[in-house]
């Protein structure tokens, strides 16, 4: 692990910070766009995350090696309240020109629309989780942080990461079972308590349908 880079960032070396950006911008962007479902907003989140990282660079520690948890913790705070984070900086800084509006090929356009649909579906489903569960879910399941990294990013114990993931799983299983019950028996009233008893296999089928 390059602790020299960390030390240079802490000392305010812009070129070291540029290296940090180059190495982690993609991770922060992917996390932001999956969390928000909005590519333009995700670009703002990347800008704000790294501006905040520069401002807070003295807090970058060598423990654990990778700066990922530190950066993702900042990104999580920015995502919690993007407008509040943006107030600190010149709004013009965040107004990047629109990306090329018209793709060169029809295939590319179709691909973009499919990506947007996929992203929108994931974002909508993510909204079914509570914020605490959502943050842990996106960090661990979608962005690939380990439990310890997610715990560091969120400033919570590792056990809490596990319990939030467990709650997220239980909630999503229940919702999947409810979806299936609605789809299979549309004429029936919803099951009491929202649970389809003894029907775990059906819940799995429902998620496969989602993933198509």
């Amino acid at each position: 692990m390059d602790f020299t880079l960390h030390a240079r960032v802490r000392d305010g070396d812009p070129e070291a910070f540029r290296e940090l950006f180059a190495a982690h911008a993609r991770l922060v962007y992917r996390h932001a766009v999956r969390t928000t479902g909005d590519r333009a907003l995700a670009e703002d989140v990347v800008s704000l995350t790294f501006l905040e990282a520069w401002r807070l660079r003295a807090k970058l520690r060598d423990e654990g090696g990778s700066p990922r948890p530190w950066l993702m913790g900042i990104a999580t705070n920015v995502l919690r309240n993007t407008s509040r984070a943006a107030r600190r900086y010149d709004r013009a800084l965040l107004r990047l020109p629109d990306p090329t509006a018209v793709p060169d090929f029809a295939d590319e356009l179709v691909g973009r629309l499919a990506d947007a649909e996929q992203l929108a579906a994931a974002h909508l489903a993510l909204g079914r989780l509570r914020r605490a569960e959502r943050e842990v879910f996106t960090l661990v399941v979608w962005s690939g942080l380990g439990y310890a990294e997610a715990a560091e990013a969120l400033g919570i114990p590792v056990g809490t990461v596990r319990s939030r993931l467990s709650r997220a799983r239980d909630r999503l299983r229940r919702l999947a079972a409810q979806e299936l019950a609605k789809g299979a028996r549309p004429a029936e009233p919803p099951a009491a308590g929202g649970q389809v008893r003894g029907d775990r296999a059906a819940a799995v089928r429902s998620t496969k349908r989602w993933n198509r």
Binding site: G12, P14, F17, R18, F21, A22, A25, R26, Y29, R30, R34, R39, A42, E43, S47, F50, L51, W54, R55, L56, R57, A58, K59, N77, N81, R84, A85, R88, Y89, L93, L96, P97, P99, D115, Q118, L119, A121, A122, H123, A125, L126, F137, V140, V141, W142, R162, S163, L165, S166, R167, A168, R169, D170, L172, A176, V204, T207, K208, W210, N211
Partner: protein, 95 residues
Amino acid sequence: MTLNPWRRQEPLDLAELARLLPAPGDPALPPDRRLLIEGRLMDEIDRRGTGFGVRFRRPAWLAVPAVLAVAPGGAAAPGRAGRAPPARPPPHGTR
């Protein structure tokens, strides 16, 4: 929230968790956008200089403990900062 203790102890399977939500795809930051953001970011850093750092304005989520920590004669701040009584010199090598 489940109250079923068996469920709580069930091991976590990340692959199953991933399947419980629609796959989010793999949204990539296009290289031209990355360069654009990087350029703006580095310009801003140059403009603000190295003086822009933690000793200046803190984000709102850190502001309250910071204010309490430096309040003269105030109560100890919650959390890590400001545990020492204000009249004493700050402890060295302790939290």
